[in-house]
């Protein structure tokens, strides 16, 4: 594809902190290359703002190769932009054409308060993990590949669930701001493996309890989370979480 340059209008959410109300500010960016990533386009804008003596726009980013889960941004109504199974850092400007207007908002959920501009506090996810998303005993170094037999199907499903990067796009996309896809991925990842099996019941109870405490909404099986997940985490995991949870509660699980 031939590369080209474009001029864009950006409507970006600005908010000093979570105590004050935010608002949209409109910016013009010029000569953006179609080869740039979306975050590089923001770098250009921020350099322009710094040169003008204005506050740059705060946004989250880290690896910029689609695996860390740090970048966020709700772009023209879509978490991580319009491309399927793509993080914002991997969204490239060839998606847009000269003269486009792009609206960029932070993840919006009460459980993800805005820290500044497009940066939100996702530590609620950390607290859910801390409530049970781990194996308590030290399992030592990785054992020889065939020393611990695991059924192929279970290994594959666990691996698929483990590919969740905890970015929060599921919460951002869900009309209920529910974190069920994230929690279900963590539950499924561990419940399917022998190392995670002994604690599966208490884990399900405690993680769901923490999810509710953090103020996420209830899942109503809408499916926007699955559609927006950059790692393709399936709704099948939510069905599994429901089963795990019912099993844990009605078999008299250890107290949460």
């Amino acid at each position: 594809m031939q590369h080209y340059n474009m001029n864009l209008t950006l409507k970006v959410w600005r908010q000093r902190n979570n105590k004050v109300k935010g608002h949209f500010e409109t910016f013009q960016v010029k000569n953006i290359s179609s080869e740039m990533s979306f975050l590089e386009m923001f770098d250009v804008l921020n350099e322009q703002l710094v040169a003008e003596g204005k506050d740059p726009i705060a946004f989250d980013h880290d690896c910029r190769e689609g695996i860390c889960g740090m970048c966020s941004m709700h772009i023209n109504g879509r978490s991580h932009g319009p491309w399927d199974q793509t993080t914002t850092c991997q969204l490239h400007m060839r998606e847009y054409k000269d003269g486009d207007t792009i609206v960029v908002e932070p993840w919006r959920a009460n459980a993800f308060p805005v820290i500044r501009d497009l940066v939100v506090d996702r530590s609620s996810f950390d607290r859910i993990i801390a409530a049970g998303g781990y194996v308590s005993v030290n399992t030592g170094n990785a054992v020889d590949a065939n020393a611990l037999p695991i059924e192929k199907q279970k290994a594959d499903e666990s691996f698929a669930a483990a590919s969740c990067i905890g970015c929060g796009a599921c919460v951002a996309a869900c009309p209920n701001a529910s974190a069920m896809l994230f929690v279900s991925a963590k539950i499924a990842h561990l419940a399917l493996l022998p190392q995670g099996d002994p604690e599966r019941k208490v884990r399900a109870v405690n993680m769901v309890q923490q999810m509710d405490t953090e103020g996420f909404g209830s899942c109503t099986n809408i499916g926007a989370c699955e559609a927006e997940c950059p790692k393709g985490i399936s709704l099948e995991n939510i069905a599994r979480l429901n089963r795990e949870y019912v099993g844990a509660v009605f078999s008299g699980s250890p107290r949460g």
Binding site: K11, W13, G22, F24, H74, N76, G77, R78, P82, V103, E105, R108, A109, N110, A111, A173, P175, N176, A177, S178, M180, V205, V208, Q209, M211, D212, G215, F216, G217, S218, C219, T220, N221, I222, G223, A224, A227, E228, S234, L235, E236, I238, A239, R240, L241, N242, R243, Y245, V246, A248, V249, F250, G252, S253, R255, G256
Partner: protein, 226 residues
């Protein structure tokens, strides 16, 4: 955590909505089966016999109490979920993904349910309430002639239109609700979700379509036999 406070958690709440929803789906099948007997074209003979059995049977009367409890729970819990979930995002998005990432009816279950509830109030007022009142006070626990009553109720066109709108709302509610109930119980696994979705779509089209044809049929029957 024990089962007593289970139903107050986010998963417990949706289990309640799902369980009562699947119970109401079973009720729809029975209701549709009995009412479809009007299509025998025998002046309502088969239908009246079936209705008399349903209306005069003690077991069915007891099940009816369960039905109202289930319906009430479904409505209250559903509306509570709707309002609680709406409060989880105080600042709304400027631009929404719309139908690109989800179906409009999946996002509108609260609204569709409310429309069905409004229809249901009218429906109970038309048939259930006068029938039970009549049974208790006038006819010595006998069913009214419901076939005749349908003719009277469905004579004006506006009633037919309201009933068609009720069936329309029901169809979209079921389009999400059928699959969603199975997903909530963890049954929509990769192996079964395809068939659950297909059966759900067929159910959501077929049952409301049969229901919708009833007021239309009775309207024309009433107007052809003045």
């Amino acid at each position: 955590m024990n089962w007593k406070n289970y139903f107050t958690t986010s998963i417990g709440k949706k289990i309640l909505v799902g369980a009562t929803g699947l119970f109401l789906i079973l009720f729809l099948v029975v209701h549709c089966y009995v009412n479809a007997m009007i299509f025998w074209c025998d002046g309502g003979k088969h239908f009246t016999e079936a209705a008399a059995f349903m209306g005069g049977n003690v077991a069915v009367r007891i099940l009816e109490i369960g039905l109202f409890l289930g319906l009430g729970l479904h409505i209250i819990q559903g509306l509570m979920l709707w309002s609680q979930n709406a409060a989880r995002r105080s600042v709304r998005y400027e631009v929404s993904a719309g139908n690109k990432t989800s179906k409009w009816y999946s996002r509108s279950m609260g609204l569709l349910g409310t429309l069905i509830l409004l229809f249901l109030i009218l429906h109970l007022f038309h048939f259930w309430a006068p029938n039970r009142y009549g049974q208790a006070f006038d006819a010595g626990w006998k069913e009214e002639d419901l076939y005749e009553k349908m003719m009277v109720v469905f004579t004006p066109m506006w009633v037919v239109i309201v009933y068609l709108l009720g069936c329309f709302s029901l169809a979209w509610h079921l389009m999400h609700g059928f699959y969603s109930g199975f997903q909530t119980f963890g049954l929509a696994t990769n192996r079964y979700k395809g068939i659950i979705r297909s059966v759900g779509v067929a159910f959501a089209i077929l049952i409301p379509l049969i229901f919708a044809s009833m007021p239309v049929y009775m309207h024309f029957m009433a107007n052809s036999h003045p």
